[in-house]
């Protein structure tokens, strides 16, 4: 069996699956149950001066039959006394010496206050600290959470304060509510962070009750912007992680809509060393980790990888600037007439929404009449993928590579060549690419 264990900046964990800081890691009872069913680590729900929460706190978006495609919350950090949390953390760590117990922290922006909480927390024997610079709601109004994580200078400063006294690895949790998250990641690294975790939740208003006009989640008819997460945010998280992975050296703990082993493997391939899960555990319970571990092991074995380190960062360099993409790579859609069920969704999508390259049956001449198979006008097809994306039948529409006989040529290369042929001097764009 493939080795799933990891060493995250000195924090050892039997597998990369950690529960993210949030409602599932609020108490010792929960974390114990989670460890018992296989979670490798847990980031304790943010400890700080206790707050008071509202009712309600959570909102959801369903997509068709799928509940909670997106989820948000306006819950704040732990509402339990600091000493209760610390006592339970110590108990859990004692009972599970080989699991990763990391404590999320958030206190007011004062050096002495941070020093004190770090010392008290590390006295529990925890394996590491996660600085919550990401929480976008409530706490940010009090100058904490994302109010820190949106300003590189504050991020560096507080990280430095923590590192002045910390004896365990320090992870900085980043907010996606920043123009350039990697810039904040660099600031954290500069402040001495040993690792980073991202993404925290995105600012959001979940929905509006069209009878009462109360936004959701509603608190006596009103709401506040909350933190958005769940499967819907995964692509945003993947982008941000790859961007950080290219610009900083410290390990990354990936967060954002992870519900399956495939999700986890993608995060790891794009630069994460551990992954954190919250919404999926809130939806289905801790048991989901069983298939995450099982599926990831099977995958590693199938790929011939003996450990996770062979998967880590494997896709990072494949995320590049648009200007580096090959303009001479050509693919066109192919419809498998045997598999086509005749729904014509590809036709209408291409006709109305893309590039008018599919002929509807019966206009199409090549199709099987009984099944109304549409026809790709190959000479018109731009290879955009839309038809394959809307097709409800697995493997029915595939994008086939067409040999153009042309050598690969990116926009940057093309522009450079044209510039050189015209004898024009190179003036880089604001971002460095060719214009």
């Amino acid at each position: 069996m493939a080795d799933l264990s990891i060493n995250f900046a000195g924090i050892k964990s039997p597998n990369p699956f950690w529960l993210a800081s949030g409602p599932p890691t609020n108490t010792a009872g929960q974390v114990i149950r989670a460890f018992d069913v296989g979670w490798g680590g847990a980031v304790w729900k943010t400890v700080g001066e206790p707050i008071v929460n509202t009712a309600s706190r959570y909102g959801g978006i369903d997509l068709g039959a799928q509940k909670l495609m997106g989820f948000n919350n306006i819950e704040l950090i732990s509402d339990r006394p600091i000493e209760d949390n610390l006592r339970e953390i110590a108990e859990v760590k004692k009972r599970y010496p080989r699991h990763a117990v990391i404590v999320s922290l958030m206190v007011e922006t004062k050096r002495g206050v941070w020093h004190e909480i770090v010392k008290r927390t590390e006295d529990t024997g925890c394996d590491g600290l996660e600085l919550n610079f990401g929480c976008p709601h409530g706490m940010s109004e009090r100058g904490m959470g994302s109010a820190v994580g949106q300003v590189p200078e504050y991020t560096t400063m507080i990280t430095e304060w923590v590192k002045e006294v910390a004896r365990t690895p320090v992870i900085v949790k980043l907010t996606p509510n920043a123009t350039d998250v990697a810039r904040i990641a660099e600031a954290a690294e500069q402040g001495g962070a040993d690792g980073m975790s991202l993404i925290n939740t995105l600012n959001s208003v979940m929905s509006v009750d069209l009878d009462t006009f109360a936004p959701r989640p509603a608190v006596r008819g009103k709401s506040s912007h909350g933190g958005y997460c769940g499967p819907a945010v995964k692509p945003i998280a993947l982008h941000m992680i790859s961007s950080c992975a290219q610009r900083v050296r410290i390990p990354i703990s990936g967060i954002g809509g992870i519900s399956t082993w495939q999700d986890a493997a993608e995060f790891i391939a794009l630069g994460a060393r551990s992954v954190q899960v919250c919404t999926a555990a809130m939806h289905y319970g801790f048991r989901i980790v069983e298939d995450m571990i099982d599926g990831l092991s099977e995958y590693l074995e199938a790929k011939g990888f003996s450990s996770l380190s062979e998967l880590e960062r494997r896709a990072v360099d494949n995320v590049t600037d648009w200007g580096n993409l090959d303009l001479n790579y050509k693919i066109i859609a192919a419809i498998d007439a045997e598999k086509c069920i005749g729904c014509h969704l590809c036709y209408v999508a291409c006709e109305d929404g893309a590039h008018q390259c599919i002929e509807e049956y019966p206009k199409a001449s090549g199709g099987n009449g009984a099944l109304r198979v549409p026809r790709v006008i190959e000479e018109e097809c731009v290879g955009c993928n839309l038809c394959a994306l809307v097709c409800p039948v697995d493997g029915c529409i595939t994008m086939q590579q067409v040999e153009t006989g042309l050598a690969p040529m990116s926009w940057n290369e093309r522009a450079r060549q044209q510039r050189q042929e015209a004898g024009i001097a190179y003036t880089p764009s604001l971002w460095g690419g060719e214009i």
Partner: protein
């Protein structure tokens, strides 16, 4: 009816359970999940498969978005009897049979159930979706108040016609009210749909038999056009010796009792034999079983492969414990004053007159020496209904071919230009949805004909 060996009566709640809706209304969650399964095909095959061309993806999408009133409007605009069609259509050979999910090996979207779900929403709440059009001064009479006339009348009323429906029954709705198995739809369900037509200002003259209480020439004089939607008449006789014995029933007449009376007042024999294996025979056989008959037998002169009932109807009868005697031809109803047995003989399909001695057109041969008797307290004839030829023949110019009124396939116009026709009397007995489609076709035909007449006069 003077049956002797009457099946023991059951408690009223037991009858209600046995005749409970066989396909109960979807819950909100079920409807949402099912509507989410619809792929929202472009130029969808289900629309084409529906005789009334309901825009299925559109109404299902509206269910998914919670716009139930809009969904019902899409359905009822195309088919005013969308609710009962949702219940009784043979959807697996119409819309659901055309659903592209079949081709992927999935269950088709439950279009019929979703359709009923959406229409029930507006019927439950008495939401009025349609209004009578501004009067155009034209008057149309419809004969019969079944699905064809209702559909014809509804469209005409929307376009400003003054429409009066003449029907010989006490209650309107025709077959929908009187002739569909009670576990599929009850009379009150049909009457809710009739109300949709009444709300458009259509007048109903119930208990009036055209040809007797009012003559065709009177109608011709009072109306600009006449729509004939009379359906079919009584069940065909078998012309068997003993058919006049007490306890011999027509299937339609038997089913009608279950639709108009409390179940506990409908007597059924302990041993019932139904002759014929079409959908109506199944309705009669299952009704007899559910009313408490101990032994219900269907005799059919051809074999199981030729069974004319829809597959799900046949399976329903099997589930209800109905016994089938294939290749069995009744020859005599035996008894003294009342039915005691049905005497039969075995048959064989012969090569002559058909391909390989199979199929419903193959000729039958009686096998001598195979005579046997099935003891019975009640015999139900279910061999199809007779056309109402006597009435139809009194209309000048109407052409009756093979018991059916001949019409222009584009307009529903008959040999007499003032008469239009649709439904069972034209198609020989098909589905409710076909009757609706033909009623609507005739409405368009009447509108075009009267408009053209007006133009030529001006």
């Amino acid at each position: 009816m003077a049956l002797v060996n009457i099946a023991p009566k059951l408690p009223p709640e037991e009858y209600e359970q046995r005749f409970a809706d066989i396909n109960p209304r979807l819950t909100r969650q079920q409807a949402l999940l099912e509507s989410a399964r619809c792929l929202y095909c472009y130029d969808a095959p289900c629309i084409k498969a529906c005789p009334t061309h309901i825009d299925v993806p559109s109404f299902i999408k509206k269910i998914a978005t919670g716009n139930l009133k809009g969904s019902a409007r899409v359905i009822l605009t195309a088919n005013i009897l969308g609710e009962s069609c949702g219940r009784v259509c043979p959807t697996e050979s119409l819309c659901e049979g055309a659903c592209v999910l079949n081709a992927e090996g999935q269950k088709p979207v439950e279009i019929g159930s979703l359709q009923r779900y959406a229409v029930d929403y507006v019927l439950d709440r008495d939401i009025r979706l349609f209004q009578a059009g501004k009067s155009n001064g034209h008057r149309v009479a419809c004969i019969g108040s079944g699905p064809a006339s209702l559909a014809c009348a509804a469209d005409l009323a929307k376009w400003g016609y003054e429409v009066k429906i003449y029907d010989r029954n006490k209650l309107p709705g025709g077959l929908n009210t009187y002739g569909i198995a009670a576990y599929k739809t009850r009379a009150q369900d049909s009457l809710r749909e009739v109300k949709l037509v009444e709300e458009l200002g259509v007048k109903f003259e119930q208990g009036v038999e055209v040809g007797k209480d009012v003559t065709l020439s009177e109608l011709e004089a009072r109306f600009d056009a006449v729509f004939v939607g009379v359906g079919l008449g009584e069940t065909w006789a078998l012309n068997l010796p003993g058919e006049e014995l007490e306890g011999v029933w027509g299937a339609m007449e038997f089913i009608e009792l279950t639709k108009t009376r409390p179940f506990e007042t409908v007597d059924v024999g302990c041993r019932v034999v139904v002759i014929g294996a079409g959908n109506t025979a199944i309705d009669a056989a299952t009704a007899a079983r559910r009313l408490g008959a101990e032994h219900v037998t269907i005799v059919y002169r051809r074999g199981e492969p030729e069974v004319p009932a829809f597959k799900y109807e046949y399976e329903l009868a099997q589930k209800d414990g109905v016994v089938f005697h294939w290749n069995t031809q009744p020859v005599r109803v035996a008894g003294h004053g009342r039915v005691e047995a049905l005497e039969c003989v075995r048959t064989r399909l012969t090569e002559a007159g058909s391909a390989h001695g199979r199929g419903r057109s193959a000729r039958l041969e009686l096998l001598p020496g195979t005579e046997f008797a099935i003891p019975a307290d009640m015999v139900v004839r279910a061999v199809g209904q007779q056309p109402l030829v006597s009435l139809l023949k009194t209309a000048r110019g109407l052409v009756i071919e093979d018991g059916r009124v001949a019409v222009n396939p584009e307009t529903g116009q008959t040999g007499n230009p003032k008469y239009f026709a649709g439904g069972d009397c034209v198609n020989g007995g098909r589905e409710v949805v076909d009757a609706v489609a033909e009623g609507m076709r005739a409405a368009r035909g009447i509108d075009a004909w009267l408009a053209a007449k007006q133009v030529s006069r001006e």
